[in-house]
């Protein structure tokens, strides 16, 4: 069997072995609770908010402030960081690492399994949000739902990948990744200037925000920002993702995990 075939097979096996494990983990259970919050709040808003708040506004406000800005990085980071770090922490990493499979396959398989969970939760949260917002008059149009959901899924991919790489490199990966996603990004993404362009959030906003269109027009956080064309933002994120993936596979191949006996 060639190296590529062998790697693909090993990645698939690792993915299948770990998909259910990750889906049943306590982190994923916490993720389900987290993902349920935007639809729940949207339901509350749709039923009880003053009559001038349209369905589109509910979706936009909760979609941006809660889903894209909070739920996506939180889910991506907290699940993504465990892709390799959980195995190292539970000291089971010895088993796959003493099998004749490329270490990169193990990383890819575990990350893909994590990604399926992350994207599943984000998609459920986003669709739930759209459905709940649609209970109000002037529901969000399908284009808006598609773009916000697309951005959220892209964000989940990038955050989980970045966190997975941090999880390989650092012992306290979760803290570092959360610190980056909320403290550093939170600051840079919301302060006007070119530093915004260094953040994932900026690129995600570029994908769904049309500044001259309601309800984005009325949202404070976008007032000072000029966004990239969606395609360019997408391409940049794809490049970042590819680099992270390449770096992650290289790092996991080189890394020594010192496990306590």
């Amino acid at each position: 069997m060639g190296y590529v075939t062998e790697s693909v097979r090993a990645t698939w096996l690792v993915f299948r072995m770990h998909l259910a494990t990750i889906a049943g983990s306590r982190r994923t259970l916490a993720g389900i609770v987290l993902a349920a919050i935007p639809p729940l709040l949207a339901t509350l808003a749709a039923r009880f908010a003053p009559s001038d708040a349209t369905g589109g506004e509910i979706f936009a406000a909760l979609g941006v402030l809660l889903l894209v800005q909070f739920v996506v990085p939180m889910l991506g980071v907290s699940l993504g960081v465990g892709a390799i770090a959980d195995e190292a922490e539970s000291r089971t990493i010895t088993y796959p690492f003493t099998r004749p499979i490329p270490r990169a396959s193990f990383f890819l398989g575990r990350w893909f399994a994590t990604l399926v969970n992350v994207l599943g939760l984000i998609a459920a949260s986003g669709i739930g949000l759209a459905i709940a917002s649609s209970m109000r008059a002037s529901p969000p149009d399908s284009e808006m739902v598609r773009s916000v959901l697309g951005a959220a899924l892209l964000g989940g991919t990038i955050y989980s990948l970045g966190a997975a790489v941090i999880g390989i490199l650092a012992r306290r990966g979760l803290i570092i990744a959360l610190g980056y996603a909320f403290a550093i990004e939170g600051l840079l993404a919301n302060v006007p200037g070119s530093t915004q362009k260094m953040t994932v959030q900026y690129h995600l906003r570029s994908i769904f925000v049309e500044k001259d269109v309601d309800p984005w027009q009325s949202m404070d956080i976008f007032e000072l920002s000029s966004f990239l064309p969606p395609t360019e933002a997408l391409v940049r994120m794809a490049v970042v993702g590819a680099l992270l993936l390449a770096f992650g596979t290289w790092a996991v191949t080189r890394k020594q995990f010192v496990l306590a006996s």
Binding site: L34, L41, L44, F48, A49, L62, M74, I175, L178, F182
Partner: protein, 304 residues
């Protein structure tokens, strides 16, 4: 001869026991000492509050010198010109109380970081390592255990916010002529300290409650992040939709904004609700944290 066993485990203690041992203090201090072991986090967490404190102290000193017209340590009686310059500068700098309050606002989030960093593992790690088996096998009540843990987390909070405020107030007291700052502004000093202490208490309880429901420090820290940002972002989003400010009661920083409005006669745009609402909101949060802590520590005690 009478038979006897002599094992290491049940060796009798022959030393002198303290008559009124302060077990909570011992527990708190051991937590603090563990925190001191690693220098880098302390450096990262406290550098900015320390720099802010030094800069503010310098500004306060300058303010009093400007008022006296003796900027730069000029000796002798100040000239008319220096007096005029000093008065203009002093006016530009604003009130000393406002300067200290600005410092407080700047560093209060570092308190959350510092307390979170040092406090998140306090109970979670005990659960993970089953240290409760050791603690509650001794004459220690749940209340003592809680006080000990709270003592640790409060120490770090105090280092990050109460101490800087105290330092700057002391600088102001020494720099002001005839202790004028203490004599005239003592109510504000008390209010500043009260605000700082309240901030530490509420966040300390929150961190310990989250720590008590987790069994890993990292998870507790993530939970703290999650709670803080969720309540913040959620409150903002919902308050936008409801055209009202009531949802912002969910946010701890917004409630503290309301407290600072009440204490220092300021007016924030976003928090125009009655102070009682904030008291209820923070009271509810505190009570919820206390209940969680009581239940979790009871489980740990029973488990022992």
């Amino acid at each position: 001869m009478k038979a006897a066993t002599h094992t290491e485990v049940y060796r009798k203690f022959d030393g002198e026991l303290q008559r009124r041992p302060n077990r909570a203090r011992t527990l708190a201090w051991s937590g603090v000492r563990i925190g001191f072991r690693r220098k880098l986090p302390a450096l990262l967490l406290f550098t900015i509050p320390a720099i802010s404190t030094i800069v503010t102290s310098f500004i306060v000193q300058l303010k009093f010198e400007a008022e006296a017209g003796t900027i730069g340590g000029m000796s002798g009686a100040p000239s008319m010109q220096s007096k005029a310059m000093g008065a203009a500068l002093s006016q530009q700098m604003g009130e000393v109380e406002a300067i200290i309050f600005t410092l407080l606002k700047q560093i209060q989030y570092f308190v959350v970081l510092a307390m979170g960093w040092y406090g998140a593992g306090l109970i979670a790690e005990d659960k993970k390592l089953r240290a409760n088996l050791l603690y509650f096998a001794r004459p220690m009540t749940r209340w003592t255990y809680f006080l000990g843990k709270f003592g640790t987390v409060a120490f770090w909070g105090a280092c990050a916010v109460v101490l800087p405020v105290t330092i700057v107030c002391s600088v102001a007291a020494f720099a002001s002529p005839d202790w004028a700052f203490v004599r005239e502004a003592w109510p504000t000093i008390l209010k500043l300290e009260l605000y700082a202490v309240l901030w530490v208490i509420v966040h300390g309880l929150l961190i310990l409650a989250i720590s008590s429901v987790c069994d890993r420090r990292n998870h507790a820290l993530a939970g703290l992040f999650g709670f803080y940002f969720l309540s913040g972002f959620g409150a903002e989003a919902m308050s936008q939709l409801f055209d009202g400010t009531g949802w912002r009661l969910m946010s701890i920083p917004r409630n503290f904004e309301r407290i600072s409005d009440a204490l220092f006669d300021t007016e924030s745009y976003f928090v125009n609700w009655p102070l009682e609402a904030t008291v209820w909101a923070l009271g509810f949060l505190t009570l919820a944290c206390a209940i969680v802590l009581a239940r979790q520590t009871k489980k740990m005690e029973v488990g022992a």
